[in-house]
């Protein structure tokens, strides 16, 4: 492959690489850095690329390896990250001032429930083991096949299946216990709370009902609800969506809260 073709192909994968790395690290700057490192490493190794996999798979394998060296990707959060972050936000008037400023001035400062669902997935998925997290993202959000994920993660297909299955099971259980959108007994109502703050004119139930996962909640098919959640996440680019700046601000806040919390826990 010529360097020119490589550059063209890399650009086609750049957005997905960047969002994958954001979802792993929860840090926009780290995601951008690792994308650049991936480009440099892949450029160096290009003569050795013999096309045993697609270039996209190969690039994700390099990015994934680099992510393993990133502390923010490796560190695991707690399932109740959004609870802890809420408590911290309520004690920090600056958080809401900054959020409101973004909401009022940025073209990417909308608050949308579906965007918050995707944001919530990014936060909560950092509580499952790293291998499960990676396998789940690659399969459910980036549409890689098990055989391709095995290449990216340098694991056997059997292990990838194990990570996928158990990762899904863990996430389904967490959302079943937490997410009030799919379970009335769920303890987390942050979508509606934040929607009330950022979109005070909206009726939350009407807005939420526009989301297929919310409409399907009554059927209580947990696997299907998780598939719908994943479809929703898949459809959102966390760097370019209408709500990206607001959600990246929230993500930075949650990451800081988690880093402080985990430091105290040591």
């Amino acid at each position: 492959m010529s360097p020119k073709d490589f550059n063209k192909e890399f650009e086609l994968s750049r957005k997905q690489l960047k969002s994958f790395l954001l979802r792993l690290t929860a840090c926009a700057e780290d995601a951008e850095d690792i994308v650049q490192d991936t480009y440099l490493k892949a450029s160096d190794k290009l003569p050795g690329f013999k096309g045993q996999s697609s270039l996209k798979t190969w690039l994700f394998a390099i990015a994934n390896n680099l992510a393993y060296d990133n502390l923010r990707a490796r560190v695991r959060w707690t399932e109740n990250v959004t609870d802890l972050s809420k408590v911290a936000a309520l004690k920090n008037p600056l958080f809401f001032q900054e959020s409101m400023h973004i909401r009022q001035t940025s073209p990417h400062g909308n608050f949308e429930i579906k965007e918050h669902i995707a944001f919530c997935f990014t936060c909560v998925s950092k509580s499952i083991p790293l291998e499960h997290h990676i396998a789940l993202l690659l399969k459910e959000v980036y549409d890689f096949k098990v055989t391709e994920i095995a290449v990216i993660m340098d694991q056997t297909e059997a292990m990838v299946k194990y990570y996928l299955h158990t990762g899904r099971a863990k996430m389904i259980k967490i959302f079943e216990g937490r997410c009030a959108l799919i379970n009335k007994q769920g303890v987390c109502h942050q979508c509606s709370e934040l929607n009330g703050i950022f979109n005070p004119q909206q009726k939350f139930e009407e807005e939420a009902a526009k989301i297929e996962m919310v409409r399907a909640a009554a059927n209580n098919d947990k696997e299907h609800l998780f598939d719908l959640r994943m479809n929703l996440v898949k459809g959102i680019d966390p760097f370019e969506s209408d709500a990206s700046e607001l959600q990246l601000h929230h993500l930075q806040h949650n990451r800081t809260v988690m880093e402080e919390y985990l430091k105290k826990d040591l």
């Binding site: 096949k145 098990v146 055989t147 056997t156 059997a158 292990m159 299946k161 194990y162 996928l164 299955h165 158990t166 099971a169 863990k170 259980k173």
Partner: protein
């Protein structure tokens, strides 16, 4: 071989219960399930909790539905990846073995022998293992096969 009923052989100084079943899955998947302590309660209805690291020489703490009030402190005594795992204490050993039967088919067996000179004095306080063993093997089969059939 499909799942058999558990078999218990009693003598004056010991009791041994065993069960085996054919699992249509990859041995690596079965092994991962058997050696990931914290994940047991998710798929195994006979285990309440299992703490620790299932590695050779490590100590683990097991709470089972057989005797929910007790925590068994056990040691991982033998570990041969994808083939054999033994944990136990001074009274007995639990042995798990995996034998390949062909491509993606494995014979899983588990057995536990408890006993010793004092065994006749306390044997009546130890509940039978048969049903729990059958359930363990059935849960492992179900979970392993479900994982194996994950879509590509």
């Amino acid at each position: 071989m499909q799942q058999n009923n558990a078999v218990t052989i009693k003598t004056t100084f010991s009791r041994e219960t065993s069960v085996s079943t054919t699992i249509n899955s990859d041995p690596e998947i079965i092994w991962k399930l058997l050696t990931t302590a914290y994940d047991y309660p998710r798929w195994n209805s006979t285990i309440i909790s299992l703490e620790g690291d299932i590695s050779l020489g490590e100590k683990i703490k097991l709470k089972s539905t057989l005797d929910p009030k007790r925590t068994f402190k056990l040691k991982v005594k033998e570990l041969e990846p994808n083939k054999k795992l033994i944990w136990g204490d001074g009274q007995g050993n639990r042995i798990y073995t995996l034998v390949p039967l062909g491509k993606s088919s494995v014979q899983f067996s588990m057995s536990e022998k408890i006993g010793g000179l004092m065994f006749p004095l306390y044997s009546k306080y130890i509940p039978p293992f048969d049903k729990a063993f059958e359930q363990f093997a059935s849960d492992l089969k179900k979970e392993s096969e479900s994982i194996y059939h994950t879509k590509n």
